[in-house]
């Protein structure tokens, strides 16, 4: 029985790895290496996109599981005491890795890429920070847009994130600063008129 559980673990790990690899869009064979490095150097690696989909379930079962009988439930290698509903592996076509993903406007125009996601105390996603505009990396501005203005289309290739705001509605918003102490302006269609495009702070 122990053996079979370990087998499930490795199977789950393999699936996790496969999911992690396919959801990253590094083109050719360096995929494997990327996963390894990403784990080793969480700070500098494109880690956010890797661990999210699947690898979570894998480390726990190593520790002594406090579960009585497992055999009947093969698909989940990690029955926790506290969490009644164990996480299932995610299908690649059901999820959207966020970081670095292109954001399109309503008309399909390229607005920029997601560089950060802001969550509140409860872990709810409140805003996505988009690196907006610019040419060859010059002149872009980071702007936080309201999370609920985003629509997600898993499996849509390069068009997975669509924002319900146009360029004109975003452009005048105050730039997002990581070090901003008190307030972060979040752009929504409603705020678009408030910051007159003629008078930005920088």
């Amino acid at each position: 029985m122990k053996v079979s559980r370990r087998r499930w673990c490795t199977a789950a790990f393999a699936v996790a790895l496969a999911v992690a690899c396919t959801t990253r869009n590094v083109p050719t064979e360096p995929d494997l290496a990327s996963v390894e490095l990403g784990d080793g150097m969480p700070d500098a690696a494109p880690a956010e996109s890797t661990p999210k989909p699947a690898p979570k379930p894998k480390p726990k079962p190593k520790a002594k599981p406090a579960q009585p009988v497992t055999a009947p439930e093969p698909a989940n290698p990690e029955p926790q005491v506290a969490a009644p509903e164990p996480p299932k592996p995610l299908n690649a076509d059901e999820i959207v890795p966020i970081l670095g993903k292109k954001v399109l406007g309503p008309a399909g125009e390229d607005l920029g890429r997601v560089v950060n996601v802001l969550v509140d105390q409860a872990g709810r996603t409140r805003a996505a920070v988009i690196d907006f505009g610019g040419f060859l990396g010059v002149g872009s501005r980071k702007i936080a847009v309201a999370w609920d203005q985003l629509t997600f289309k898993p499996g849509a290739g390069d068009r997975q994130l669509v924002l319900n705001m146009t360029r004109e509605q975003i452009q005048g918003a105050r730039e997002y600063k990581e070090r901003a102490a008190d307030q972060v302006d979040v752009a929504t269609p409603a705020t678009a008129g408030q910051t007159p495009a003629a008078k930005p702070s920088n």
């Binding site: 990253r24 590094v26 083109p27 050719t28 360096p30 290496a33 990327s34 490095l37 990403g38 150097m41 700070d43 500098a44 690696a45 494109p46 880690a47 956010e48 996109s49 890795p97 970081l99 670095g100 292109k102 125009e109 390229d110 890429r113 560089v115 950060n116 690196d131 907006f132 505009g133 610019g134 040419f135 060859l136 990396g137 010059v138 002149g139 872009s140 501005r141 360029r167 004109e168 452009q171 005048g172 730039e175 600063k177 990581e178 495009a197 003629a198 930005p200 702070s201 920088n202």
Partner: protein, 422 residues
Amino acid sequence: MSALVDAKQRTGPIFDRAPLRAPERAFDWFNFFVANIQTGFGPFLAVHLTAQGWTLTAIGFALSVGTVSSLLSQLPAGALVDAARSKRRVAGLSVLAFTLSALLLAISPLPLPVYVAQVLHGFSSCTLGPAIAALSIAIAGQASLGLRLGRNARYASIGNGVGAALMGTCGYFISEQAVFFLTALLTLPALALLVPLKGLDASLPLAADAATNPPGAGPQRVSVLHVLADRRLLVFAVCAMVFTFANAPLLTIATSALTARAGDLATLLIAACIVLPQLVVALVSPAVGRGAGLWGRKPLLLLGFAMVSIRGVLLGMVSDPSLVVLVQALDGIAAACFGVLVPLVTCDIAGRSGHFNLSLGAVGLAIGIGGTLSPPLAGWIADEFGAAAAYATLSATGLIAILIAVTALPETRPAGTRAERG
């Protein structure tokens, strides 16, 4: 090859023209392609890494790796180029390092390869710049170096402009990654263009005097410390640093304002802000090279420095996007003056010491420090006190550069019109 050497010894128009045409033209285009290549390594790297899912912190770190390695490389790279017998080979190896670096960035955008690519690019940029300057001396001789540097700047700026257009298009229609494949591809013509320069290595010591002599060969060889402690070189380096400090953040602040207010046209206008100054450089830099010989270096240096202050003031006043682009075009005048005069003045000061490339590295280090320190500071001022305050600060800094140059920098143009070769 010996015809080439002959031609360098005499200044008669017949000798000067015929044999030098081919290498001269090849060198023009070498400058073009090098500038082309360098476009890919600029701020665009951040875009590429963002697309690969890198966090802002990680990108910032990777960019710092590049900055620090190029700062640290300036002096050693300069000394290395001084010691190298064949500057052409140094140039070739540097370009090869660019090829490798671009391929690394394109194929495996993972931390370690990216850091390696950044270090490679940082170091080889520092060897390539001096190598190009040394080859320029070999081609033109010290007396007509200004003209040569003017041509260099012209072709480099055209290369910059074309590179920006090419890579912007490539990034937009294909992918960010493709830009780095394109960059790697563009290193091949650069390498090929070094082949016609083969004869130059032999003519180097003659044309450039002790500047490029193998170690210990020249009678005029001076100790390193003596060269680096030359007051003129120090003052010039400080001027260059202050100028770059004032100049570097202007484009970023101005274009980010364009993004905020110019709507759909913003990207196009920013592209214009990058390409238009290059056109201006292409137009005026040969004149700058000629003028540096006719009127001396200092007036043109001051003209270039003045442009920063003028731009700062004007950018603070205008808000119409198309006017912003026009003001940015003034940067072309500054860039032309600066691009021609940095190697030229350095050659005036240290050209015969045997440490020309090291001296150029020292000035490059000063420029690098100025360019590294100011964008964060100016960005902070813009955030806290508004863009106008940042423009004003940078304008004032430009004035300081002028002040230092006026009061402390002597004219470095060699006296008289006599040929300045041994």
